[in-house]
C-alpha cells in the first residue's frame, strides 16, 4: 500500500492509508488534546476538542475521525484552531459545576487539564445549572451526571468493550444523559460493575465511591490481576503504601482496557485487617506470635524430624496456583531436593488436570491452542460447560465482541442459563453429566453427513476409523434420550459447527469437574480434529483456567509426576540434570496428587504437610474429612495471607505477602507469561512466598543460591524448554515488555507453545474414542441435581474475595438458586434460610428464586466461607486425572425448623 504523505505543522509526515490525522500526529510526536478519544474505543468525534485545520480550504476537522488524505496541510496549533478549541471547552465548562476544588477526580480530570492547557481562565458564557448527583447504593462507583460531558466513553466501553450495554444516550439536546434502561440505578440494570467505564471517564462523572479508594495516587505500577486465569493487566495506584485504586492496564494485550468487578474492586483484600502480620506457632491449643527465626526453626525441625524418622515420602507439599511461577519452582525444588518427596501438587488439580490429560492424549499439547485475540476472529464459537461471564470475564467479553461486532455465531451448551444464553444462536440444555454423549452425537452427525474435513483428518490425524466406529451408537435419537436435547437441535448444532470455516471451542470447569471429565475433554478434542479446527487462525480450543497461575504452577513442576517443563520424574536423565544443578539426588517415584495426599494423611502415610496459598478445607470436596485428615497430621505448616480455615489447623503459620507486594510472573490460561510487580511493601513482618521458601531451605541446611525471582526464572527457563518463558531469559523485569515479547514469540516460534499452521507437537493428533457412561442413579431421597459454580462478585472459595470489603458488601449472602415451580413445590420462599443436604454432607443457604435454572436443578456458588458448599461432596476422583467430581451432586432441601 502506498503511504500517504501530508504536511503536519509545516513538516512532511507519512502514514498508511486509513490512518486518522490524530493517529499520525501522535505517531509523529505532535500533541493534540482529546476528551472522547481512547485507544481502545471506536472514535466517534463527539467532543470536538481535537479540532485541527486544513490550510488548503480552511476546514476544521475532528482529527480523531478524519482520515489522512494526500496533500493535506494540517495545522494543529494555529490561532484559529486554539480559539475554536477554547470555545468548545468553554461550552463544556458552562454546563459543568465549579466543584473542581473538592472533586475527587482532582488532578486526574482530563477536562480540567485541557482547560488549563488552553488557558481558559474565566468562563465568559452564561452558565447552565445542572441537576445534582445521582446517589447510588452500590459500594463501587458513584455517578454524578452533572459532571458528564457526553463524551460517550462509558457508553462505548459498555457496548463495545465489555458488551453489556447497560447504558446508552437517553433523550437529546440539553436533556441528554447516559442512562440505563428505564433510568434505573446501576445495581438494577445490566451493569456488572466491571469498572471499565469508571477508568475511562475523563471527568468526575464516574468515580470510585468509598473513602479509602479516593484521592490522587503517588505511584502507579503495572502488574497482573491475581484472580481468574485470564491474566488481565492492571495498574495499582498507590498512595502512602496503600493501594487506592485499580485500573485496567494500558499495555495489556489480554484485557484491552477492560476489567471485571473483581479486578477493579476486589483487590482491596490486600488491606484487610485480617492479614497475618507475624508468624504464628501453635502452643497449648492456641497460636502465639513468633519471630521468623523461631517459626522457621520450628518448621525446619518439624520437617527434618519426619523426614529422618519416616522418610521423605511421608511429607507432602501443596503449591499454589495463585503464587508466582518462581515460587512454585522453588517449592517443587524444596520438596524434591530438600524434603525428598515428589508429593507436590497444586490447587489446579481440582479443575485443570482433566483438561491437561484429555488434550495431551489427543492433541499432544495440553492447553489452550490459540490466543484470546484470535477467538474474536472466529466464525463460530462453541461454549460448553463454562460461564465465562463469572469465571473468566475477559474471555466472555471477547466472545460477545466476536458476536456483536464480527457476526460470529454462538452455540452454548449449558444446563443453566447464563448471560451468554441471550447471545446464543443455539442453546442446548443437556442433562447434567451427559456431555460425552452430546459431543459424540455432534461428531456422529458430522461424520454421517460428510461434513468433516477429510483432508485434515487424513493428513494430520490417526485412529479415525476406530473413532468413527465408536460413534455408531450415538445417533441423534439416542443422544436425545440420554441428554434430553432434541435430535433436531443436535443436527442443527453439528451442521452449524461443521460449516464454519473457523470454529473455536471454549470449555471450563463444567466439563472438567465431572467424574468423566477427562473423557469429555477428549470428546471435544475429537470434535475439533474432525473439522480441522486446530491450527487455523480463529479456531482452536480454549481451556479456561480458574486461577491466575494454574498453567504456570504446572509448567513449573508443582506436579507429582513431572519436573519443571513436564519432564517426567521417571526419566533418569532429566532427574540427573536437575539433581546435578541442585546438588541432590531426586526421588524417582511418582508422588501423590492433592486429593491422594489427603487420603494418605488420614491413613497416616503422610505425616507432615506444607500448604502454600491454598485452603483445602474449603476448596477440596468433603470439607469435614479434609479437616480431619489435616488435623491428624503430626506437623502442618500453612503459608498464607490470612488465617484461613486450613491455617487454623496448622502447627506453624507463616505470613505471606500478597501479589501487590512481590515480584515475579504469572502464566495465564493462554500460556502467556506476564510480570507481577511490587507496588507496596508487605504489611507487618509478612514476606513474599519465594523469600520464605529460600529462608526455610537455608534453615534446613540446604541454601538455594538465588537472590531474586529473576534468577529463579532464568534457571527455570534454562531447564524447561518452555518457549513462552524463554522470552524472559536474561531480561530484567523492569525492562521486560510483556506485550512485545509475546508478539515476538508468536511470530518466530513454531511448535510447543502454540499449535500454529496445524503443526501438532508430535506431527499428528490422535482420535481417542470415548464412551458415555451414565452417571450414578440419583438417590430417591435427593430429588434435585445441584450444580456449583462461580459468581462474578466472589472468587474461588472466597479466601481473598470474602475479605474484600466492597465485594462482600455488595454480595454478602450465599444462596441456593432454584426455579419458582420447585420453590412452590417444597414451599420455601425467596430469602428463606434452608438446609441443603446431599448423601455426603450438608450446608445451609438462602433461597434465591430465579429463572436461570430449570426444574429439578439447584445452583450454588462455591465462594462463601460461611456456606461451605464442598461439604456436600464426597471424594470421587476421575480415574485418570484424579480430579474430584465437584460440579454436581444430588441434593434435597429441608426447611430450617422454626423451633
Amino acid at each position: 500500500m502506498q503511504p500517504v504523505t501530508i504536511t503536519l505543522d509545516g513538516r512532511e509526515v507519512s502514514g498508511h492509508p486509513g490512518m486518522t490525522i490524530l493517529e499520525l500526529a501522535r505517531e509523529s510526536g505532535v500533541d493534540i488534546p482529546t476528551l472522547c478519544h481512547d485507544a481502545h474505543l471506536t472514535p466517534v468525534g463527539a467532543c470536538r476538542v481535537c479540532l485541527v485545520e486544513d490550510e488548503r480550504n480552511g476546514a476544521l476537522l475532528a482529527s480523531c475521525v478524519s482520515p489522512i488524505v494526500p496533500g493535506m496541510v494540517i495545522n494543529t496549533q494555529s490561532e484559529r484552531v486554539i480559539e475554536r478549541r477554547r470555545t468548545v471547552v468553554e461550552l463544556m465548562l458552562a454546563s459543568h459545576p465549579d466543584s473542581c476544588l473538592v472533586c475527587d477526580k482532582g488532578n486526574r480530570c482530563e477536562l480540567r487539564q485541557i482547560a488549563s492547557d488552553l488557558d481558559i481562565g474565566l468562563v465568559r458564557l452564561q452558565r447552565i445549572p445542572q441537576m445534582s448527583t445521582i446517589e447510588e447504593v452500590n459500594p463501587f462507583l458513584e455517578r454524578d451526571l452533572s459532571k458528564c460531558i457526553l463524551c460517550a466513553r462509558c457508553i462505548r466501553a459498555c457496548q463495545d468493550l465489555v458488551v453489556e450495554g447497560a447504558v446508552d444516550y437517553f433523550q437529546r439536546g440539553f436533556a441528554t444523559i447516559p442512562a440505563t434502561l428505564g433510568g434505573t440505578p446501576l445495581e438494577n440494570s445490566e451493569c456488572t460493575f466491571c469498572g471499565t467505564c469508571a477508568a475511562l471517564c475523563p471527568t468526575g462523572a464516574l468515580m470510585e465511591k468509598q473513602e479509602p479508594h479516593r484521592g490522587t495516587a503517588q505511584t502507579v505500577v503495572e502488574t497482573t490481576c491475581p484472580f481468574c486465569g485470564c491474566g488481565c493487566s492492571i495498574r495499582l495506584e498507590a498512595k502512602n503504601g496503600h493501594v487506592v485504586r485499580v485500573t485496567p492496564g494500558r499495555e495489556g494485550a489480554v484485557n484491552e482496557g477492560t476489567l471485571c468487578v473483581r479486578g477493579s474492586y476486589g483487590c482491596d483484600f490486600i488491606h484487610s485487617p485480617e492479614r497475618l502480620l507475624t508468624p504464628l506457632i501453635r502452643n497449648c491449643g492456641g497460636f502465639q506470635e513468633a519471630s521468623w527465626e523461631e517459626a522457621l526453626d520450628a518448621v525446619a525441625a518439624g520437617f527434618q524430624r519426619i523426614r529422618d524418622e519416616h522418610g521423605g515420602n511421608s511429607l507432602a507439599v501443596l503449591g499454589s496456583s495463585k503464587c508466582t511461577n518462581e515460587e512454585n519452582y522453588l517449592l517443587q525444588r524444596l520438596a524434591r531436593s530438600v524434603l525428598g518427596t515428589n508429593s507436590i501438587d497444586n490447587g489446579s488439580r481440582l479443575y485443570n488436570s482433566a483438561g491437561r490429560i484429555g488434550l495431551g492424549s489427543t492433541l499432544g499439547f495440553s492447553g489452550t491452542t490459540s490466543h484470546l485475540s484470535e477467538l474474536e476472529q472466529s466464525e463460530l464459537i462453541l461454549v460448553i460447560g463454562a460461564d465465562p461471564g463469572s469465571s473468566a470475564p475477559a474471555v466472555e467479553y471477547a466472545i460477545k465482541r466476536a458476536i456483536r461486532q464480527r457476526g460470529a455465531r454462538l452455540i452454548l451448551v449449558d444446563p443453566r442459563q447464563t448471560k451468554l444464553s441471550l447471545f446464543a444462536d443455539l442453546w442446548l440444555r443437556p442433562e447434567v453429566g451427559t456431555d460425552v454423549a452430546l459431543v459424540n452425537g455432534l461428531a456422529k452427525v458430522i461424520v454421517d453427513e460428510g461434513l468433516l474435513d477429510e483432508e485434515d483428518v487424513g493428513r494430520k490425524t490417526d485412529n479415525f476409523a476406530a473413532f468413527a466406529e465408536g460413534l455408531k451408537e450415538y445417533t441423534p435419537e439416542r443422544v436425545e434420550e440420554i441428554t434430553g436435547v432434541p435430535g433436531e437441535q443436535i443436527r442443527a448444532a453439528a451442521r452449524m459447527y461443521a460449516q464454519a470455516s473457523r470454529a473455536a471451542v471454549v470449555y471450563g470447569t463444567g466439563i472438567t469437574q465431572h467424574t468423566r471429565g477427562t473423557d469429555s475433554v477428549r470428546a471435544l478434542a475429537n470434535l475439533l480434529l474432525l473439522t480441522g479446527s486446530i491450527g487455523r487462525r480463529g479456531s482452536g480450543v480454549y481451556a479456561l483456567q480458574r486461577e491466575n497461575n494454574a498453567q504456570g504452577s504446572c509448567d513449573m513442576g508443582a506436579l507429582p509426576a513431572f519436573l519443571p517443563g513436564y519432564q517426567s520424574v521417571a526419566d533418569a536423565s532429566a532427574r540427573a540434570r536437575f539433581g546435578e544443578r541442585w546438588g541432590a539426588s531426586l526421588p524417582d517415584e511418582r508422588g501423590l496428587t492433592a486429593l491422594e495426599m489427603i487420603e494418605a494423611a488420614s491413613e497416616g502415610a503422610i505425616k507432615g504437610m506444607y500448604v502454600v496459598g491454598e485452603n483445602p478445607v474449603l476448596s477440596f470436596p468433603g470439607s469435614g474429612r479434609v479437616r480431619e485428615a489435616l488435623g491428624s497430621l503430626a506437623f502442618l505448616v500453612v503459608q498464607d495471607m490470612f488465617l484461613t480455615e486450613t491455617a487454623r489447623l496448622a502447627n506453624v503459620v507463616l505470613p505471606a505477602a500478597s501479589f501487590a507486594e512481590k515480584d515475579g510472573t504469572f502464566t495465564n490460561f493462554e500460556g502467556r507469561v506476564q510480570k507481577v510487580q511490587r507496588a507496596i511493601a508487605p504489611p507487618g513482618e509478612s514476606l513474599p512466598d519465594w523469600e520464605i521458601v529460600l529462608r526455610l531451605a537455608e534453615r534446613m541446611g540446604v541454601p538455594m543460591d538465588y537472590s531474586s525471582p529473576q534468577q529463579v526464572l532464568d534457571e527455570a527457563v534454562e531447564c524447561c524448554r518452555l518457549p513462552a518463558y524463554s522470552l524472559y531469559e536474561g531480561v530484567d523485569y523492569a525492562d521486560a515488555e510483556a506485550k512485545s515479547l509475546y508478539q515476538a514469540e508468536t511470530d518466530n516460534y513454531h511448535g510447543v507453545g502454540r499449535i500454529h499452521g496445524g503443526q501438532f507437537p508430535e506431527g499428528f493428533a490422535r482420535f481417542c474414542p470415548v464412551e458415555y457412561v451414565a452417571p450414578e442413579k440419583r438417590e430417591e431421597d435427593y430429588p434435585f441435581t445441584l450444580l456449583t459454580g462461580t459468581t462474578p462478585y466472589q472468587f474461588g472459595v472466597g479466601s481473598r474475595s470474602s475479605r474484600s470489603a466492597r465485594l462482600t458488601k455488595f454480595c454478602p449472602h450465599s444462596s441456593v438458586e432454584m426455579c419458582e415451580a420447585d420453590a412452590a413445590k417444597i414451599a420455601v420462599e425467596e430469602g428463606e434460610e434452608v438446609r441443603v443436604l446431599s448423601p455426603a454432607g450438608e450446608t445451609s443457604a438462602m433461597v434465591k428464586i430465579t429463572d436461570t435454572v430449570s426444574e429439578g436443578m439447584l445452583f450454588m456458588p462455591v465462594s462463601s466461607p460461611q456456606t461451605p458448599v464442598h461439604e456436600l461432596f464426597g471424594i470421587v476422583l476421575d480415574a485418570e486425572s484424579k480430579v474430584p467430581a465437584m460440579k454436581s451432586c444430588s441434593a434435597r432441601i429441608e426447611k430450617v425448623s422454626t423451633e
Binding site: 450495554g165 447497560a166 446508552d168 442512562a179 428505564g182
Partner: protein, 162 residues
C-alpha cells in the same frame, strides 16, 4: 374505570408476533417502532427487550433511539391528540388563552394525557394556517378562529359524559 395502561399477556404476545415478522437487521428498528406505535398508540416499555433481542441490540440502545425522536412515545396517548398552536400569529390573536382554556377543559397539562385515554394535549410551533388564527388541531382536524365559546363546545360532550 378499568386500567387501560396495563399491557396484558396477549398484548405482549402480539408484540412478539410483530417483532418476529420484522427483519433482524438494525435498520428495521424504526419501522418496527412505528408498527408497534401504530397498533398500540405508543411503545410499551415491555416491548423494548423483545425488540432488542431480535435486532441484536441492547435494550438501552433501543430506548435511546425512542427517546431521541419526539414522535415516538413510551407512554399511552389519548385517542385524540389536541395540538394548540403557539405560533406567532396565533399568539397575537390569543393562543395563550386558548391553551389555558383547553388545559382547564381537559384538566391536564401540556404533554399529558387524560386518565380515560381520550385526549393528549400538545403544543405546536405553527401549523401553517395562520389566516385562521388562533388554531387548534384535534385528531388531525383543524379548528380555526378559536374563542372561549368554541373551546367549550369542542369538549362539551366530555362534561356530559361525566
Amino acid at each position: 374505570m378499568d386500567e387501560p395502561r396495563t399491557i396484558t399477556e396477549s398484548d405482549l404476545a402480539r408484540i412478539g408476533e410483530i417483532v418476529s415478522e420484522q427483519s433482524g437487521q438494525k435498520w428495521a428498528m424504526i419501522p418496527l417502532l412505528q408498527r408497534i406505535q401504530d397498533e398500540f398508540g405508543y411503545i410499551p416499555p415491555q416491548s423494548i427487550p423483545l425488540m432488542a433481542r431480535k435486532l441484536r441490540l441492547f435494550p438501552s440502545q433501543v430506548q435511546g433511539v425512542i427517546s431521541f425522536y419526539t414522535q415516538l412515545y413510551t407512554e399511552p396517548r389519548g385517542k385524540k391528540v389536541v395540538r394548540v398552536c403557539r405560533g406567532t400569529a396565533c399568539h397575537v390573536r390569543g393562543g395563550k388563552t386558548v391553551l389555558k382554556l383547553v388545559k382547564q377543559q381537559l384538566d391536564i397539562g401540556e404533554g399529558e394525557t387524560t386518565p380515560d385515554l381520550e385526549y393528549t394535549l400538545e403544543t405546536v410551533a405553527c401549523i401553517g394556517v395562520c389566516a385562521l388564527a388562533p388554531n387548534i388541531v384535534v385528531a388531525d382536524h383543524v379548528h380555526g378562529h378559536m374563542n372561549p365559546k368554541k373551546v367549550e363546545l369542542l369538549f362539551k360532550h366530555r362534561e356530559v359524559g361525566e
